[in-house]
Symmetry: C2
Subunit: 506 residues, 2 copies
């Protein structure tokens, strides 16, 4: 959208501005409008797009200045250029600039505006007019807010909301990449129900959470062994341990802080670990037999962050701020050291949708070409694994948010058009539907940029990741293969071994 | 301590109590005092210890009754016996009991009282007198509180605080069980510092949290392989997956709710996962670049519980409420599926004291004899592992809270005296100190009782657990063996393989 800015600010000085400075001030404004505000502006930029002082007045120690601009040397940038200029000028007369008070800041965005856009409650917005062909925002901002690039971020947010209003309802663009051979199915039940019936799993006491008995765990470990032997080993992924509690700083840098909030399990810490501070909570429990949640709520700080959601962001502080040698690339690592947690929509789901789950996360870095090559090698090996070893009916598809697909934001040539995610889906005979059971993503420079990681060559550093969800593999495999081990492919039957029963009940 | 109770209650009826009922009431009180309150009381109980109605009066529809007792048919139990009796008697005259209001409830505890006991802020306590030889508590309770056994729990808590005041400062009773041969040490540095220097680990962004690079992770996995080959396999522990988010209900049943609060990482959930509800939080971040923690705090419920602290409580709902067949026992399982988290005391520690750590937890159930036998088999195998494979300088010691040691609470014969914990400690040359690096506990019937698990035979069901801390093993091993692989025992060098470097920095 085309922006226009209008800004009025009071520049407050250390003493009255004497009348005899008026001519110098006039010359300074003239110089600002004709020289200083034009620095760095392309020659062919329309004149009325460039920042301009359109009025100024002196009242005692206060110089009130009004700026207008389009997209070049925007009004707030013009203000700071003028500040530097005028501070130097007045400083020579021993008049110091004490403070800048923003009296008025107005942003107008011209372009097609979808209906129903709600902007009045955005941070820093004093009022908002939304018309079919323009948006006008009056902002309540300080000079520090302007220096802190609040208007830029606010405009980006408004544009994002405009896009979401246009394309948001359309979800994802879905493009089939591969479809496996069809399979015959002898088992057509819900595998979760059968796992419960056989005592393989039992509902734990928090929502979307299961306790896995020995048989279910053996199946997980059989899948894990396959991943190690068929993928991780041959492609040389080295195991690391990524932390599982994620402080805000990680999500700020990974970009998850932009929108992950509805699905997070939040983590808070004690205000102090002094046992005396907590004695009344313990006493309450000991006397009533009930945990006093409201008392605890008052005694904890935070939240400081949340539980692992995506698995790879926690890796990045290992490299944060560093420059890798060229020969470190491509680098391939993986993590399988703990649980991930998502606050999923309510109701009863099977093991294919859970709040607490187990995932093997592969992560790789390299030049754009190396990053895409690793993704291709993974696709090739996954395909062999699912077609020849696990003998599943599955497909893969490239998924792209609609507004990106629409606007050609993935455009560009070569590696760039490979940025995005490929979902792997398995057919579930019992519900005649498809289950996303893993994915492969090429993330471009998003993470290296967010965590400030560079490569010696000075070239682009990219990364990718692939999350292998063990609950999802289990759901897909059991839904298609059932519970008769004789129907299972040899590669998994052998690794599963004897279904060993530990607990028998009266 | 010797208790005495005094209770005055108003029994409020549906209409005025007519005078002509007075003789029947007198007879009922006489019967209560001489027959009903004596039911179930041992013959040799001192008469003044048994509940007694010491006064009663009628005022309109209200019958005010005063009860006194020592430890037999305590005043509040006497109240409910009398309620049943009088409700039946008056009911025959169509006078219904509407409500019981506790006017006054007083508990006196006689015995030696340590100085400095603070009781006035305990729940339900209206006032507390603490004297050298007695405690007098006036309680603010309802009849429902009395039925809910509030006074019993309160008295137990006061006794606990008395014990803690006497023995609390003394910490643990420590009794050496085994001491390994002395070893020579060529490395005398802090292993954490050396791991950082070599790029094996890097501080993550939350406190007490590390990211483990490939080399450190290989050492973890080498230890894990040793545990699987030398302990888990030969003793037949079957792998399970225990949940890692722990809701209150689990800690209520495991007993951790009595005091774990100062060290918990608390978990809260969104009030709703409706994206519109969270949009202002996301908008705030997008505009300011900062996560609005205070806004989030208002939008989350709970805490619903916390992160895994001890690892075994989450197992128990798998068996909760069930009765095991006799031939299920002994049962042996283990979990290594995720992280544990403790809010440790502040300051910088190495990997030997961390907030987020990785532990292999062994858990077993059986008759008391089977449970102790498993513990003994573990001790034997651990000893061989540390002496012959890892070649550590270590020792084991039985640790007992002082008040338990003092009061012979572990007394009894045979298996019972084996209830408790054995700590394993390794010598740290760099600090000339000992580090607890794992433990073995025999927990008696604590968990089966808490989670209502029974055995077919009707006999005692016990359990035990042993936590193998991989960070602690690593700290102990590297502190003694250093970083020159030629100095490492063959069994670990072989499993560690080549120290593979993935990331090199400019």
């Amino acid at each position: 959208m085309q922006p226009r800015f209008g800004l009025t600010a009071d520049l407050i000085f250390s003493r009255e501005i004497p009348d005899e400075l008026r001519p110098e001030l006039d010359r300074a404004v003239e110089e600002a409008n004709t020289v200083i505000f034009r620095k760095g502006v392309p020659k062919d930029a329309p004149t009325d797009e460039i920042g301009l002082i359109t009025g100024y007045a002196i009242a005692g120690p206060v110089l009130t200045v009004t700026f207008e601009s389009g997209g070049y040397t925007r009004a707030h940038d013009a203000l700071f250029r003028f500040r530097k200029q005028i501070a130097g000028l007045f400083g020579r007369h021993r008049i110091g600039l004490r403070e800048i008070v923003v009296v008025h800041f107005r942003v107008e965005l011209r372009g097609e505006v979808p209906e129903g856009l709600l902007l009045a409650s955005l941070p820093f917005v004093r009022s908002a007019e939304v018309e079919p062909d323009r948006i006008v925002l009056e902002l309540a901002v300080t000079a520090a807010d302007l220096e802190n690039r609040i208007p830029d971020r606010l405009i980006r947010l408004v544009e994002e909301k405009t896009e979401a209003a246009v394309y948001g309802g359309k979800g994802e663009h879905w493009e089939l990449l591969y479809e496996s051979p069809k399979r015959g199915f002898r088992f057509r039940e819900d595998p979760t129900q059968e796992m419960i019936r056989r005592g393989w799993i039992k509902h734990a006491l928090s929502r979307g959470q299961w306790i896995h008995g020995p048989q279910s765990t053996r199946l997980f470990r059989a899948f894990e062994a396959l991943v190690l032997e068929e993928i991780v080993g041959p492609l040389g992924f080295a195991e690391m341990i990524f932390p599982k509690l994620v402080p805000w700083e990680v999500w700020v840098k990974s970009g998850h802080a932009k929108g992950v909030y509805p699905e997070i399990y939040y983590v808070s810490v004690p205000k102090t670990r002094d046992p005396a501070y907590w004695e009344d909570v313990a006493d309450h429990f000991k006397v009533t037999g009930e945990v006093p949640v409201d008392m605890i709520r008052e005694k904890i700080d935070g939240p400081i962050g949340g539980l692992c959601y995506a698995q790879c962001p926690s890796f990045w502080p290992f490299l944060g701020g560093a420059t890798l040698t060229n020969d470190s690339l491509p680098a391939r690592v993986f993590d399988r050291s703990g649980t991930s947690h998502r606050y999923e929509s309510g109701g009863i789901h099977g093991i294919e949708r859970v709040d607490e789950f187990h995932r093997i996360e592969l992560l790789w870095l390299g030049t754009p070409e190396q990053t895409v090559e690793t993704a291709d090698l993974l696709h090739e090996r996954y395909r062999r694994l699912f077609d020849e070893v696990l003998e599943l009916e599955w497909r893969s598809a490239r998924v792209t948010p609609w507004f990106m697909a629409q606007e050609g934001m993935l455009g560009g040539e070569g590696a760039s058009e490979r940025i995005g995610t490929t979902d792997y889906e398995a057919y579930l005979p019992y519900s005649d539907s498809w289950l996303e059971f893993q994915n492969v993503s090429v993330n471009g420079d998003k993470y290296p940029r967010g965590f400030n990681v560079k490569v010696q060559s000075g070239g682009d550093l990219w990364s990718g990741c692939s999350g292998i969800g063990l609950e999802r593999w289990t759901a897909a495999f059991l839904a298609q293969k059932g519970f008769d081990l004789d129907d299972w492919p040899a590669g998994i039957r052998r690794r599963f071994g004897d279904a060993h029963e530990i607990f028998r009940f009266v």
